[in-house]
Structures are given as C-alpha cells and as structure tokens.
Amino acid sequence: MSLLEARGLRKEFSTGSGLLSRVFSDDVVHAVDGVDLDIERGETMGLVGESGCGKSTLGNLLLRIHEPTDGTVTFDGTEITGLRGDDLRPFRSEMQMVFQNPQSSLNPKHTVGKILRKAITFHGVASGQDAQDLAEQYLVDVGLRPEHADRYPHEFSGGQQQRIAIARALSVDPEFIVLDEPVSALDVSVQAKILELIEDLKQEYDLTLLFITHDLNVVRHVCDSVSVMYLGEIVERASTAELFDDPHHPYTRALFDSITLPEPGEFERGGGIRGETPSPIDPPSGCRFRTRCPDEMDVCAEVNPALADRTRDGATETRRTACHLYDAVDDGSAAEDRPEHRRET
C-alpha cells in the first residue's frame, strides 16, 4: 500500500473575486485536473513542470491546504479528504511542507526557538525544557547551532532560513514532507548544500518526499521517481533512471531539450518547446499539449489521452504516459476521454 494515494484530484479556482463575480463568473482556472498519484513509503518523487502547470497546487491539495474540488487523498490507508479540525490534526504531524521562499515562510515576529517549540509542544512530542532541548537538537541536525534558537529569522541568510524551515518540518516527526521548490530561491552554492542536507536527512529520518521543482537537473540528483506535469495533468511518470534515459512524452522530451548545461558551446537550435503555454482557463481540446507538440496527430485534438501504461510498437517495456503516440496496454482504459473544459461562448 502506498503511503500517499491521490485519485481523480481536481482543483478549480474561479478568476473573479468578491461574492457576486464568484457566483456568476464562467472563468475557472483548472489548476489540477484529474490527477492520480501514488507515492510509496521511502520514495522521493519529483514533481516537475513549468510555472502554471499546477504542481504547487497539487502539493497543497495533498497536504489539505486547499480543498479539492473533486477527488480523494489517502494517507497510509486512511482517506483524509473529508477530514477537518480535530480529526485532521493527528495527520498534520505526519505530513509537513517546506516552502519556496524561506524568508516568508518563517514568522518574523517569532524567534526560531519559539517556532520550533510551538510545533513540538502542540503535537505533544515533548514539553517544557524537553521541547527546548529537542528544538536545539533539530537545529544542530540541520547544520545550525543551539544558540540560534534565540534569534529572529531575519538575522539569517536565505540558506540558513531554509534550514530552519526544514527543522520545523522535521520537528513533529513526520513521515511525509512536500518540498515546494525548496532551492529555487537560493544561490547555486547554497542550493548544493541544502540538497545535500535533504539527502542526509531523508536517510536519517526515513522520510518519504515529494520534491516539486521546475529544474530537471535537480531531480536527477535527488529523486527516485518523477512525475511530469503540464496544465494540470500528469503526462508521464517513471523512475528517474528510466525517464532520463528515455523520455517518452513529447513534452518531457521538449523539456529536456530546453535544458542548458554549463558547457561552453552553442545553443542547440531547433530544440526546446515552441510557443507559449495555453491559458489554464481554456485549455486546448483533446490533448493539452497538442498545440506545441511536434508530433501532433488528428486524434490528439479529439481525445485527451489518459495516463496509462503504454508501450512503443513492439517493445515489452511499458511507460506510464499520456500520449497517443504510444499504445495503451491492458484493460482498454486507454484512449479514455478525460474531462474537457470549454468556455461557453
């Protein structure tokens, strides 16, 4: 049984603000549009995509920061989608998050020690002096010093602030942590340190991680498996080695083409992704990527390919991907129509 399971997750945001326009507005952003996900215990899954693809929203849905418009989230066998308040509270200490911007993820009015102690005490992990000791210990675990507990967040550098945020997430002894672009706001040299820290902590605390990022290079170093997301849907999912060795979905391939490595030379022209991302309010009919896909076929405009195990002609190895170029295996859940959203004109 997976540690975390999501089925049919969907999240819509309306674009109007205010009471009336929310009721009457037709414009709805389909941030997450029918996502199934399985994360195994001990796995580090990378969730990759460009801005606006819904990866952060998906992370938020898993942690119940937002209510899904549809679909379920199951943690360790228990469905947590409908839970609230006291019922949800025990799960909170099992699932934590590290945010993108370290500066704004720490309350500037609280000392570092207070931030950690509050979490530790609230979830009953320890209290009083024990809580203080534990807080200091976590600070040391993330590479800081016990006396830092008396300082305020603004007194630290970005990398240190991110360490504090990680310490906070760890302090309640969670099983699962979502890291939402944890190193994107940091300098390259600091990034390397934090990635190494995450790697170490993962081993030491036996964590399951969802690593959200737009940077495929980072994914390669940190993640066991990868899910690629585009316009609210997952278009490919594979182990890291498989994905990097042989990306199937045209979007994944195009993403790889866009990567620039620090090797002196010329840009490889003709690669990359053409065009711009369509609006999530009114995505293309059928396959969402078809407007930028070099291999678009007729069927792509009509039927949105479902995420399923597929093969290339003849090959036995399957890949979980959502593309008509590949034939679905098994139960004909294949060219299943995924919900379409057309704006009424």
Binding site: G158, S258, P264, E266
Partner: protein, 332 residues
C-alpha cells in the same frame, strides 16, 4: 569600448559601509558579449548600475573610472548621461514593470523612445495630444516587435503591458533596448524567473539579434549555464571582487580560480547523476566585515597562509586573468 578601472561602489548603511564593488576592472570591446556572473552579494548588479551612474542612495561611487568610447562617464552631466543611456547604451531590466509604464500602450512607449532618441525631447502637451505620432517610427517599432518574435505585431502595438505574457513582455523589453541601435546593451538578469523553455527562446533570439547588429553586451546573471552558450567572455565575481575573467571556453573548461571551479561543481547536471554535488564549506563573508585576505580564503579547498594576508593580484594564465596565488607559477 567600455572600460571600467578600479571601480569601488559603496553603500553607507546604519550598520556600516558595505563595499558592494570593491575594486574591479572590466573591459568590453565592440561587438563582444560578456557575461558577468556572480551569486548574491557578489556586486554584479551594482556594477551594472554604476556603469550608468544610476546608483541610488545610500550608494556612491567611491573610486574608479568608467570610460565609454574614451569619455569618462562619471563626469558627464545628467543631460549627457541621459542621451547616452537612451542611445548608445541601453538597459534591459529584470522587471518589465521598471521599463514599461502600465498606463501606456507598449507600441506607444517604444515609439516614444525612438522618437526622443532621433528627434530629441517632445513637448509634453504635444505628446499628450498624440500629435507627435510618426508613422515611420511606428513602422520601425512594428518591425522590431516582429523581429523579437511577437506574433501579430501590428495588433500588439496597441496593447498595454499587462496584456502581454511574461515571455512576451520580456521580448518587448529587448525590442525596446535594441530599438535605437545601441552600441552596448546592459542586461541585468532579464530572464531570471521565466520558464526555462521561454528563457531559451529569448536567449537564442537575443543572441541572433545582437550578432546581427554587432552590438556589445554585458549580460549579468547568476546562471553559468546561460553564460556558457551566450557569451564570448565571462567575468566571475565574488564578494565585490573579480575572481577570474577570460574567454568562456577557457574559463569554463579549465577554470583557474578555485571559486569558479567550486561553482561549476555545485551545479547539478542531469548528465552527471552519480557525481556528488560539490558543497562549499562556510558562508559568504559578511559584507560589513570582509577579510583582508582573499575573499574566498575561508572556503577555498586550496587555501594556504598567503591567502589570508592580502587579496591576490591578477595573474595571467593564457587568455585568462585570475586573482589567485595558485596561478603565480603559471598554470594551476
């Protein structure tokens, strides 16, 4: 063409004086694309604003010379500087909001830039009434919008900045910078924050345009990968000093400065999955309290006693110049 010598730009803050740029030299020849690379606190952005004497309070240029085409930029009057800024030297910002007025159409703004440059200032009333609109200039603007890859440039001419997507407004900004056929473009992290795919498109476009127009470029970024493909030469800055400078090819394939090497080794690469990322020990020195020796000494894997005494002078190694005692013997 552009020559910076011994530039020192300081900021006077409550806690003390921050020596953001602490003695750097930089040269850009005509038609050259130079990358200025550094992490936060390196002083790269301050260098850019110093070039055009645009350093804001409490910053000041404490020392140094900046020469453009033989003229001393720092001694120019505000009027002359303005003329230089719009014409020969143009700037591309990171934030389009700094470049564009949200209440005017993009086309109009580009038109006005072109007009001021060619014809001088226009009386505000004339402009407000729209009487200064010149169809020839409009034509030029539309062509520029087209060459930066904006589809339907005729229609987009009358759109407002907020109607453009992130990638499109960046293209428009590049268009605005190149409109007056500048000799030098200063680009301060203009593609940071954009999606990688869009960034790539813009970089390729930019490269084509500047090569076609033979414009010199100073491209400021933290991203060595961009520099590796876009720039002919690279300048690596750290804590207010230049650590290494030379042709991209040399610096990136055979870095002479341990800092450059460390930086390269910290970058995760999907084609090197099994190599551990290099982790730099320690932290960037406090800008208020920098060491008297080499800035990188406390984190350098090859530091020795001399490094703590004084910041190393520049040594030439082949086509590269590096500030590191290890280079004294010639090659590292």
């Amino acid at each position: 063409m552009l020559r910076i010598q011994n530039l020192h730009t300081y900021f006077d803050t409550d806690g003390g004086t921050v020596r953001a740029v602490d003695g750097i030299d930089l040269e850009i020849d005509a038609g050259e694309i130079v990358g200025l690379v550094g992490e936060s606190g390196s002083g790269k952005s301050v260098t850019a604003s110093s070039i055009m004497n645009l350093v804001e309070q409490p910053g000041r240029i404490a020392e140094g010379e900046i020469e453009y085409d033989g003229q001393n930029v720092l001694s120019l009057s505000e009027a002359d500087l303005s003329e230089l800024r719009g014409g020969d030297i143009s700037i591309v910002f990171q934030d389009p909001m700094e470049a564009f007025n949200p209440t005017q159409t993009v086309g109009r703004q580009l038109h006005d830039v072109l007009r001021s440059h060619r014809d001088g200032a226009v009386h505000p009333i004339v402009r407000a009434l729209g009487l200064d609109h010149d169809p020839d200039y409009r034509e030029t603007v539309v062509r520029m919008l087209d060459s930066v890859g904006i589809p339907n440039p005729e229609e987009r001419y009358t759109d407002y900045p907020h109607e453009f997507s992130g990638g499109m407004i960046q293209r428009a900004m590049i268009g605005m910078a190149l409109l007056c056929d500048p000799k030098l473009v200063l680009a301060d992290e203009p593609t940071t924050g954009l999606d990688v795919s869009i960034e790539r498109q813009i970089l390729e476009l930019f490269q084509d345009l500047v090569e076609e127009m033979d414009t010199a470029v100073l491209w400021i970024t933290h991203d060595l990968s961009i520099v590796s493909k876009l720039c002919d030469r690279v300048v690596v800055m750290y804590a207010g000093k230049v650590m290494e400078t030379g042709p991209t090819e040399s610096v990136l394939s055979d870095p002479q400065s341990p800092y450059t090497q460390a930086l390269l080794d910290s970058i995760p690469r999907y084609d090197q999955p099994n190599d551990d990322l290099y982790v730099m020990e320690g932290d960037v020195p406090d800008p208020l309290n920098r060491p008297s020796g080499c800035r990188f000494a406390n984190r350098c894997p090859e530091a020795h006693d001399r490094c703590e005494e004084a910041h190393p002078p520049r040594y030439e190694v082949g086509e590269t110049e590096v500030a590191c005692y290890l280079a004294e013997e010639g090659h590292r």
